[in-house]
């Protein structure tokens, strides 16, 4: 199984390199330092959201409300900052993360306590959260001019010539990737995703784990909301309308099975980078922007069908291998090993 995962990620990196090479051949400006930095920056925000979404999907759930949470966190924290220009940045992050945490907890409550399927629960909260922030904003837009410079400086800080945001995304990817693979809680998520019934029978607390992934997803979205404002300067209530698609596409293309229980957080991160490169490539090559959404949809469908075919073939191969070892009269343990 881990062999298959490694193959998946190698394939993803290969796909990424092929896309980069294709874009560079048509437009050498792609490899320009400033352009690569733009690509990296637009990948980071989607990437952090995709990390949370990946954990949610690994546990066989889905979170459609991520875009609405990011917008709420961005607007509420920027609104506070515009009224308290001297406020501490730590406090701004605390506000954004609290908003995200609360909204994630709302999702968790509906899915775990009220036992509503995640798809309809988060479709409902998507409307509620987005509507709430639109009403709160009342059509206002918080522009860069009324926000203190220290806010936007967050997006401009560099460490070793690379923007701090990129380091943050890389660090979060590594930490969450490690936690998903090597901690007991992380492994439990995979168990719950691949077979909830069996996971319950071996004593895994389903409610606690599902609540954890929704709250974590909300928290990451709250964090991204603050970064969003810092990166783009202007904040309004309708920002990030398609973020749930971008996140889910990144996760699915990154090889996380939509049935739950397999795939990795690293794959989701690579998926986010692939989409950032595609988006940038479409812009650089002067292609019609409208193609992007169709390509995203086709990419989701294509990869899901591809992975399901691969999984079916792997299953068949395993079954045949087992039958052969039994037929030869070998010990099954030896045959499987």
């Amino acid at each position: 199984m881990s062999g298959l995962l490694r193959v998946r990620e190698a394939g993803l990196v290969l796909a990424l390199l092929v896309i980069c090479a294709g874009v560079t051949l048509r437009e050498p400006r792609f490899l320009n330092g400033a352009n690569l930095e733009q690509v990296a920056l637009s990948a980071t925000l989607v990437c952090i959201v995709a990390l949370g979404e990946a954990l949610v999907i690994i546990a066989r759930q889905v979170d459609l409300s991520v875009g609405a949470i990011v917008a709420s966190s961005a607007f509420v924290s920027a609104d506070w900052l515009s009224k308290h220009p001297g406020g501490s940045m730590v406090f701004v992050f605390a506000i954004g993360c609290t908003v995200g945490l609360a909204m994630g907890a709302g999702n968790a409550l509906l899915v775990v306590a009220a036992r509503i399927p995640a798809i309809v629960a988060t479709l409902g909260t998507l409307a509620i959260y987005r509507g709430a922030v639109i009403v709160f904003a009342g059509g206002r837009q918080i522009s860069a001019t009324i926000l203190p410079d220290s806010y936007q400086a967050i997006a401009q800080v560099r460490v070793l010539h690379v923007p701090l945001l990129v380091w943050i995304a890389v660090a979060l990817t590594l930490v969450l990737g490690w936690a998903a693979s090597y901690t007991r809680t992380g492994r439990n998520l995979y168990a719950l995703g691949s077979d909830p019934e069996s996971a319950r029978f071996v004593g895994i607390n389903e409610g606690w784990h599902l609540a954890l992934v929704f709250v974590l997803s909300g928290l990451l979205c709250g964090f991204v909301g603050v970064l969003w404002g810092a990166r783009f300067g202007t904040v309004d209530a309708v920002l990030a309308p398609d973020l749930h698609f971008q996140a889910i596409s990144a996760v699915v293309v990154g090889g996380v099975s939509i049935f739950g229980g397999s795939g990795s957080v690293y794959g989701a991160a690579i998926g986010a980078v692939i989409f950032a490169v595609l988006q940038n490539g479409v812009q650089l090559l002067g292609l019609n922007q409208f193609w992007l959404q169709a390509v995203t949809g086709a990419a989701i469908l294509g990869t899901v069908i591809l992975y399901s075919l691969l999984a079916r073939r792997a299953e068949r191969a395993e079954r045949e291998g087992r039958r052969r070892s039994v037929g030869l009269g070998l010990n099954r343990g030896v045959g499987a090993g």
């Binding site: 479709l123 639109i134 009403v135 959404q293 949809g297």
Partner: protein
């Protein structure tokens, strides 16, 4: 079955309460012309809610309905731009809708992928295609009789033409779902797919069928909506899935599949229409109405969940006592 009957009685009560509150909120609410406007405004949602009921009864879901409506509206517009007659354009958009639904259904039924992720993918795909073929153009200049479909009323009455279209489809769907062998089979599929298959129901063909019906009725909704808005654009009906699924769930259809009635969905659609209209008359913005729709969806599900938990608890007690 008893619980469902009670749920529909409850919905009728809610409908009456909505009408009473609306009348209190504004003296214009209970006028024939206002009620006619309220009903005409909700018809696209109502038309799509019919096949959505079938899809959800089967234990599946179709998130892509808003995008199929958008794609059909865009196809209609492109046909008009090419100088085709409105009748031909409507047929073309119907074909596009059924094709889009057939793609959803084929992948779900024959490739065996969950409808949730398939229709999330096609939601993006179909909206993208709509944007590619129509870009940011808006197409207007429809014949007068076509414009009548969306906003006009049957002469001498306040009944909108679109409501007549809806009622015709409602009767067909209600007879099919509740009174034919194939319709009843959908409940069996939603309750226990494996058992349905072993009792000789062609599960795959049934699922393909409901998705094709969903695409087809999305095309009908696109025709009505384009006429209502008097212009066809590629962003038509963005986010339509939320009110449609809300109406179906509020109508008492179990989100897990296997139970529900179209009568309940009909009352739920009317409740949503009048709630929105009353809120609009009271000066509530469409964005705030979105919160109300979301809350209605979530609260209904919480209520249903609580009722189920109570029933299960009662059952346990009875088993233990017996």
């Amino acid at each position: 079955m008893g619980v469902l009957a009670r749920w529909e009685a409850f919905l009728v009560f809610v409908l009456a309460a909505t009408l009473a509150l609306g009348a209190l909120a504004s003296p214009y609410f209970l006028t024939a012309s206002n009620l006619s406007i309220a009903v005409a405004g909700v018809m696209p949602t109502a038309i799509v809610a019919l096949p959505m009921t079938l899809v959800i009864v089967c234990g599946e879901i179709d998130i892509s309905v808003g995008s199929i409506v958008g794609l059909c509206a865009a196809s209609l517009a492109v046909c008009r731009e090419q100088g085709l007659g409105i009748e031909v354009s409507m047929l073309a958009s119907l074909a596009v809708g059924m094709l889009a639904g057939a793609l959803n259904g084929a992948i779900v039924a024959y490739v065996g992928l969950p409808s949730l992720v398939v229709t999330i993918g096609t939601l993006a795909l179909y909206r993208g295609i709509a944007q590619i073929i129509l870009e940011e153009r808006g197409v207007t200049g429809f014949p007068d009789w076509y414009q009548e479909i969306g906003f006009g009323t049957v002469p001498g009455t306040p009944i909108p033409w679109s409501a007549l279209i809806f009622v015709a489809f409602f009767l067909c769907f209600a007879v099919f779902l509740h009174a034919t062998h194939r319709g009843r089979a959908l409940f069996a599929i939603g309750n226990n797919r494996e058992a349905a298959r072993f009792s000789g129901i062609d599960v795959r063909r049934a699922i393909l069928g409901v998705f094709v019906a969903s695409g087809g009725l999305c095309a009908v909704a696109a025709v009505v909506l384009t006429s209502y808005l008097a212009s066809a654009r590629s962003d038509t009906a963005t986010g339509l899935e939320l009110p449609v699924i809300t109406a179906v769930v509020l109508g008492g259809v179990s989100i897990f599949g296997g139970s529900g009635t179209l009568g309940g969905v009909l009352i739920a659609v009317l409740v949503l229409a009048f709630v929105q209209n009353a809120l609009g008359l009271a000066g509530v913005t469409p964005e705030a109405q979105q919160i109300v729709t979301g809350c209605v969806l979530v609260l209904t599900l919480v209520l249903f969940g609580a009722a189920r938990a109570l029933r299960t608890a009662a059952l346990f007690r009875r088993v233990r006592a017996g």
